[in-house]
């Protein structure tokens, strides 16, 4: 078999009668001989117009074939399989084709294009923020986003919460054998779009393929580097009694969207994920309240309740929330009521909690509300001194209770 056959068996779009493969829809499963034959035929057909007839006569049959192979090797890589196979992770031609035709095609930027072992940047001014995150979500595609933009925005947000301007991302993919290439393309396209929208580059990456059944379609691991351009000291431990707790928008949309998108629940809603990059919002807040922002946290897993608990524990302050001040959209609230889930514990992917000095709460709100992602920002509580390390809440109906950490995922209750 010539090298070309390994990675380029049959064009997906070739009509079946041309390939002599009427009986299969899985070109990657075609027995070798037929595959080889079809591939040679295809190569000839494709190359024909490029070859002026006059030149042909000067070549021997061998030269002709070698030349053809040479040209074939130089052609732009294409992924012709419609499903990921183990070959795509084996580091050979298939893997190369996947990288060039899917990842490079979508992410293309000067740091990625050399496809070196790592990306090399020029000198950077300022401190660096460095983060890593892994993304596993089921379903991979949900209203308002997919695992791709989730991964990019999530990494950007981790950097933004450090007060950094996000610059470079890496992306590692664990793909399950049999994962549709079309789906991979969609995921990669939304990563590219999210990166473009946020002005970051995906500069290095990796792909591994695991056997069918050993993973859930597609997992993504990222790392991100951001530059600290403005002198900030953000730390949960810096929170002191009297500070205000601000949330940048309505909570719980991502988590409820994904939970409902898993199906099995006959609840009709118009919920969409809130996934969004928060770096410009964070920047606006930091610029408006220099030195007055104690800490920023994105309220992902475990939701606002978890973030606030972590802050209370780190700073050894009491945080008192006001349930009626917490912005929750009616559709999220409705779904939460039905499932017996507290929206305070539901993940957000485009919301942050900021703790600001009490006398700067209004300035912080004005800054956040002037940004499209912060129009519904609200002060939801404040820090006090006793009981240290605890989060309390004045409930909607005027009672009080403790808001503790959850043990595991919020699980729907039955009655």
């Amino acid at each position: 078999m010539s090298p070309r056959h390994l990675d380029d068996p049959i064009r997906e779009d070739a009509p079946l009668e041309d390939t002599g493969l009427e009986n299969t829809s899985r070109p990657d499963l075609v027995p070798g001989a037929a595959q080889a034959e079809a591939a040679v035929r295809e190569a000839c057909e494709l190359d024909q117009p490029e070859i002026p007839h006059g030149h042909m006569s000067g070549h021997s049959r061998e030269e002709e074939v070698l030349e053809r192979i040479e040209r074939a090797r130089k052609r732009r890589a294409r992924v012709r399989e419609d499903r990921i196979t183990l070959a795509h992770g084996a580091g050979g031609k298939a893997a190369r084709a996947l990288i060039e035709a899917v990842f490079l095609e979508a992410f293309g930027n000067p740091l990625l294009e050399p496809l070196g072992d790592g990306a090399v940047t020029g000198p950077v001014a300022g401190g660096l923020a460095f983060t890593t995150d892994s993304f596993v979500v089921r379903p991979l595609f949900f209203p308002g986003g997919d695992i791709g933009d989730l991964a990019v925005n999530g990494t950007i947000n981790d950097l933004a919460m450090c007060g950094a301007a996000p610059r470079y991302l890496s992306a590692g993919f664990i793909l399950e054998e049999g994962f549709p290439v079309e789906d991979l393309r969609s995921v990669v396209a939304s990563m590219a779009e999210a990166a473009r929208a946020a002005g970051v580059w995906i500069v290095t990456g990796d792909t591994k393929v695991v056997e069918n059944g050993k993973a859930d379609g597609c997992y993504i691991t990222t790392a991100g580097i951001g530059v600290i351009e403005r002198p900030v000291r953000l730390s949960a431990a810096a929170v002191v009694p009297g500070d205000s707790v601000v949330v940048s928008g309505p909570i719980g949309e991502h988590g409820m969207t994904v939970m409902l998108a898993r199906g099995g629940l006959d609840i009709e809603t118009d919920l969409t994920s809130d996934t969004a990059p928060l770096h410009t919002l964070a920047d606006r807040l930091l610029a408006a309240c220099p030195g007055q922002v104690r800490c920023l946290r994105d309220a992902t897993r475990g939701g606002v309740a978890t973030v606030v608990n972590e802050i209370a524990a780190a700073a050894q302050v009491a945080i008192v929330l006001d349930e009626s001040a917490v912005p929750v959209r009616p559709n999220v609230r409705g779904a939460c009521e039905l499932l017996g889930i507290d929206p305070l514990y539901v993940a957000c992917e485009g919301r942050m909690v900021a703790v600001v000095a009490g006398d700067h709460a209004d300035a912080a709100l004005d800054a956040l509300r002037s940004h499209p992602l912060g129009t519904d920002a609200a002060v939801i509580g404040r820090a006090g001194d006793d009981p240290a390390g605890l989060v309390l809440m004045r409930t909607h109906s005027g009672g009080t209770r403790v808001v503790d950490l959850l043990v595991g995922d919020p699980l729907p209750r039955i009655c």
Partner: protein, 375 residues
């Protein structure tokens, strides 16, 4: 979707608090048991104890259907789940309940195919989509969830889905209330009756509570004002020397219950002679099983379950907590060996369990919490 804010109004809650305080006879203490775990959860989630007069104490009863499943039944469920070709399905709050051999999450980690569903119909859908497998639904709950289990079996029969069965652990509310009333250490002055269960069985079945045991009972819903109004009605009855069943939840609960739901249960299920309740022991006629006619959908008949009794851990005092004899924090292991991360008893598992609710929401001195939030 309609909202429930009208039942969460703080002004009305304050007004009720004043009226309740006025009804308490000086020097007298009142203990009311809320039978239903949903009420326990509501009381803690909304911080309703703040509104109750100091003389009123709520006892958290046995009404969390997850909390009362005995360990042996869970081991039986794990056994079924581990049979080749079986997909076990159950509600989310069952996943962390400890049996003798760990939890469903542990069984899943050992390789059993266990899936969380939101309703028995979801389990039936899984059966339809996996004709080569056998799908078992672990049914738990009071009369609230029994109708949907029964309907699912009828649907399975109508659609000719043969690879589906139910491991039935439905329990009935009335015998458990009786068992509590008969227990010598019971000390409640009145009962807050369950809301959702009563939507099915109605209010009539509770009439023996005032008639035979001389205790008032008010059926109510799960919103803050529902619970507060029910306590107010109990105090009013006691103040006026009345003792009746009252329905504060008429917007959902018909006095005679839901005849259709009851008849569906009656068609598909029958009473068991005895059923073991965690902490409460064996209670006659307190649970449902699949009737002979639908034996083909009964996992207990299809699979040889070991049916081993597993004694509750020695340290566990769930029984006393379920009966209201002990407050959660009075249990020897509460908050030390027994926490929501490492539950010893089931009351610590479901968020409706008395111990978990208390641990999550209520374990700090009310006074301190109140002061912190008023500051």
């Amino acid at each position: 979707m309609r909202f429930v804010d009208e039942y969460r109004d703080a002004d009305q809650a304050h007004a009720l608090a004043d009226r309740m305080a006025a009804l308490c006879r000086p020097g007298r203490r009142y203990q009311f048991m809320e039978v239903c775990g949903g009420h326990t959860h509501a009381i803690y989630k909304h911080g309703l104890e703040d509104y109750l007069p100091d003389a009123v104490e709520m006892i958290h009863g046995p009404g969390c259907p997850v909390c009362v499943i005995p360990m042996g039944r869970l081991d039986d469920a794990f056994h079924i789940a581990e049979q080749p070709g079986v997909i076990m399905t159950t509600f989310g709050d069952m996943m962390r309940v400890p049996g003798g051999r760990g939890t469903f999450l542990d069984a899943k980690a050992r390789g059993a195919d266990i899936r969380m569903v939101y309703s028995p119909l979801d389990a039936l859908k899984i059966a339809h989509a996996n004709p080569g497998r056998h799908v078992v639904f672990m049914a738990v709950g009071f009369e609230t969830t029994a109708p949907s289990t029964a309907l699912t079996i009828l649907r399975a029969e109508a659609e000719g889905i043969g690879n589906f069965s139910v491991f039935c652990n439905h329990v009935t509310i009335i015998p458990s209330i009786k068992a509590i009333l008969d227990s010598p250490d019971q000390r409640a002055d009145g009962f807050v009756g369950p809301g959702h269960v009563s939507a099915v069985i109605g209010c009539r079945p509770y009439e023996f509570v005032p008639r035979v045991y001389g205790k008032p009972l008010v059926v109510t819903g799960f919103e803050p004002l529902d619970v507060l109004r029910a306590v107010h009605q109990l105090l009013t009855q006691l103040a006026e020397g009345r003792c009746e069943v009252e329905n504060q939840y008429a917007r959902v609960v018909p006095w005679d219950g839901n005849a259709r739901a009851l008849s569906v249960i009656g068609r598909v299920m029958e009473l068991r002679g005895y059923f073991e309740w965690r902490g409460l022991g064996w209670i006659p006629h307190s649970a449902l099983k699949i009737s002979e006619r639908y034996a083909a959908y009964d996992a207990e008949r299809i699979f040889q379950i070991p049916g081993v009794r597993v004694a509750d851990p020695k340290a566990c005092q769930c029984g006393e907590v379920l009966k209201g004899v002990l407050k959660p924090w009075e249990c020897k292991v509460f908050g030390t060996a027994c926490t929501p991360e490492t539950p010893i008893g089931t009351c610590m598992v479901s968020s409706e369990g008395a111990c978990a609710a208390y641990y999550n929401f209520g374990r700090f001195s009310r006074k301190r919490v109140r002061e912190a939030t008023r500051r």
